[in-house]
Symmetry: C2
Subunit: 193 residues, 2 copies
């Protein structure tokens, strides 16, 4: 078991790591400790070395995102609505996401897993389902759509952090771009408000 205190500082460190590393992946352990409002020695006490810390932070961030996406019940309802829920869920996990996908080398081996609950698997299933039901363009490779989705959400979160987009408008902007591109919305085929 783990003492409540220990568990709390542990989470504080993991959160700070994700946040700081998202902004500067070359950040020092001292930086992370400071952000977590924790002594550098305490950090080392929980995570022997940098690799262990990063690995734990990745696993943690991944779990948060995975949980968030699972709650979106992406396998239910019409694909378009599911996609919107998915994007919203991803945006909500924005901080962790910026960290997780800011450095592609940080993932290594996480997307390899084939467990049915893996983030990539859930996304791929949704995309395929949408294509099968004739809602998504079947000419586009599933992997490409998936990459695009990640990229747009990532960009959206990043833009919000820089003030380009209002925090609450990120999901909407991403969804809109995904569904219509930059074309003018000629007919009322978007949403009914």
């Amino acid at each position: 078991m783990e003492s409540g205190t220990r568990s709390r500082t542990r989470r504080a460190i993991l959160g700070a790591a994700a946040e700081v590393l998202a902004r500067d992946r070359a950040a020092t352990l001292a930086d992370i400790a400071r952000a977590a409002q924790v002594g550098r020695s305490t950090l080392h006490r929980y995570f022997p070395d940098r690799d262990v810390l990063v690995e734990a932070a990745v696993a943690d961030a991944y779990l948060v995102i995975q949980q968030s996406i699972q709650d979106a019940a992406v396998d239910e309802g019409p694909p378009l609505a599911a996609l919107r829920r998915l994007v919203t869920a991803m945006v909500d996990a924005g901080d962790r996401l910026l960290f997780l996908y800011g450095d592609s080398s940080v993932l290594e081996g996480y997307e390899a897993g084939d467990e049915p609950d893996s983030v990539a698997q859930m996304m791929a299933d949704l995309i395929k389902r949408g294509q099968a039901e004739g809602v998504f363009d079947p000419d586009l490779a599933v992997q490409w759509i998936q990459d695009t989705l990640w990229a747009l959400v990532y960009t959206g979160c990043d833009s919000a952090g820089r003030g380009v987009l209002p925090r609450h408008g990120v999901a909407t902007a991403v969804i809109r771009m995904l569904e219509n591109g930059i074309r003018v919305q000629s007919r009322g085929d978007v949403e009914s408000k």
Copy 2:
């Protein structure tokens, strides 16, 4: 003036820097020197320290991209066609682009410039023109469209590097996504082949 030999090794180093740093932004100067097939001391002879090297590599990559985009004559013809030329130009400069935009902190101050020929300026002008002519969605912020464009091109180049997209299909995929999103292409409003 500069000796032909010097000019040649200088370019070799800059090219290697862009290539290596694109893959691993924490790469060592020794790594870069090796990739450039040059002694580490030679590298230091041309670029006193890391900052100078990175700055020079950024400037070089930026120039290449800028030139490539200028050749696309983005301010001429219908916006949609211009956009397609722009994307193609950006994709062609893919290698440099992955480096330049792989680490957002590397740009710092380059997008600040207001020279009419700056990459950002040309892109913004095109987007505004497209909106004014009723081809691009005027509800989307110019900056957001611009960020999206970069993100998609970046993702496309990256995907090509990982084999997800065929090298020659990158521009097409990006353009298609930009213009239509992932929706099925209901009517013949895309292109005439």
